[in-house]
Symmetry: C2
Subunit: 319 residues, 2 copies
């Protein structure tokens, strides 16, 4: 691991979690799971310059977001974050960029109590792979397979904010100035719903994080669960910034863009009181947007009309 000393130089810190028996610097890291009652959750994502983030993007934003997308996957499992590994492919060593990257990475790592326990640094095109480890109680993970006809569909927070941020940054959307900063922050510094995900264990019947867009991600849940869904577009949680942009952009940024890293989850009717019980703890809110139905596929209703978005999701091999 780390042939170049970069992880040693830039990223090595004492482990904070008592589970980390051995961190950066040996052939492998060692992690002791506390008690027999925890199951390991593991997720990994790769971000490539020019595909997942713009060439020349600030190191801080890239570091933050590379970790955030993985933490969001742990959130969608209802997992408690534990540790992560960093694989960094760099065309050259740029100390300023690396310092910013490290600061962005550790800002989020500290916020969610994740220790960096290993990784690899190689020469190549700029790319980041992060693998995140968390723990769940056995049988207590939120998966994609548990949605049943009659369950309600919820999302946390707001949808489409990251899309507005990207449209504003690229000059495709002109927003009132007070709305610029919030949507750019949602694009660059998403807040994975870690606490919310853990609180939903025992309440939600399925969950996924909205990384590729509501239509695509809810579609994964429907396929995995063998059910369909009807969503009421008028129930989508949209911000005042979105309202201001709505005449220009319509519903699609909230449906097919992704990058919001909110949770989309289903709740059986008998457990909606339990959801109402935990909801006051979370400022993001949990928004009822539709219902799981028998059959297959996702129907988007706009009053009496059936709505079809411009494209059904984000796929890097489309382009």
């Amino acid at each position: 691991m780390d042939e170049f000393g970069l992880i040693e130089q830039y990223f090595r810190r004492p482990a904070r979690r008592s589970e980390v028996v051995l961190g950066v610097g040996d052939d492998a890291a060692l992690v002791a799971l506390r008690g027999a009652q925890r199951t390991l959750a593991v997720t990994t994502d790769t971000l490539i310059e020019g595909v997942h983030f713009a060439a020349g993007a600030p190191g801080f934003d890239v570091g933050y977001k590379a970790l955030a997308v993985n933490v969001s996957d742990l959130a969608a499992m209802g997992a408690r974050p534990l540790a992560f590994l960093l694989n960094l492919s760099l065309p050259r060593i740029d100390p300023m960029w690396l310092a910013g990257f490290r600061d962005g990475l550790f800002t989020l790592a500290d916020a969610v109590s994740l220790d960096l326990i290993g990784g690899d640094t190689v020469r190549g095109p700029l790319a980041i792979t992060i693998t995140a480890l968390g723990t769940t109680a056995p049988g207590g993970a939120l998966t994609r397979t548990g949605a049943r006809a009659g369950d309600r569909v919820y999302v946390s927070g707001l949808l489409g904010e990251a899309a507005l941020g990207l449209l504003a940054r690229s000059g495709h959307l002109s927003l009132p100035s007070e709305f610029q900063a919030p949507v750019l922050a949602r694009l660059d510094r998403p807040l994975p719903r870690i606490e919310e995900g853990q609180a939903l264990v025992g309440i939600a019947s399925s969950a996924i994080d909205v990384s590729d867009g509501l239509v695509a991600d809810l579609g994964h849940v429907l396929k995995a669960s063998g059910v369909g869904a009807e969503i009421d577009l008028r129930r989508l949680p949209l911000s005042r910034a979105y309202d201001a942009a709505f005449a220009t952009v319509g519903y699609d940024p909230a449906l097919v863009f992704g990058d919001d890293y909110e949770l989309c989850f289903t709740v059986p009717p008998e457990r909606t009181p339990a959801l109402a019980g935990i909801a006051p703890r979370f400022a993001c809110g949990f928004h009822y947007i539709g219902d799981i139905v028998a059959g297959r596929g996702l129907v988007l209703r706009n009053g009496q009309d059936i709505y079809a978005p411009a494209r059904s999701g984000y796929n890097h091999f489309d382009g």
Copy 2:
């Protein structure tokens, strides 16, 4: 994970290990460690086309080796392999190459009982990141920090075979034909010393795998343990192929090239009988090559002479 269905299409198989609660296809994989007596070992390595393997290299060889370098790290910890994740960055979808890659990957995965539990596939320059999970008994891992003055230094198998393979393939070395195939096999299909590593738990005081060359890798152990070593070059385990090439290449391929994925480990004198006790189980052999000494640094002795290799190890940012 896996935005493009490639892992689903090419790599998804039923999990074989009972520890794998949930494999490919959700936001994260779930792994239950059996019993409270096992600790998780995690390692990760990235391979980039044109840096770690040649452009146009066969998919089978790339898949095999990408996993082998990680399995070798588990071996060096004395860990038992459990599961792995695959992050694949591809410039395009080439079904033939992908099928070969998968076959190479699973050939080794099957040999060491590793389940593929997750990953990510993105569009980008050809690069592979693998993260491997294994388990060790608590306190039973082989680390780099335990070497003490008076310990003996051993290596498994043969050194320099992969280097000869590379020199032969690149036309820098002409080998008798009967030696070509074995050294190329050692370069393309290294055999991580998984069983050997587990057997050395309780016997070796430190261990590392020879990935960057004996000088560099033993150097890591010496630095981590705060000791020095004296190695007798005449004790290096060299093959008949190496003997045939020795007049041309000298000792350096066995010292500074790496890619052999043998284990280099230290054994306190009182435990050498235990080492002799397990040695007959392993065809590779364990070869005594020198001793740990007080102080710092590595001395290479060739009879009465002190030998200095041409370069001290492999570093991708050198070039």
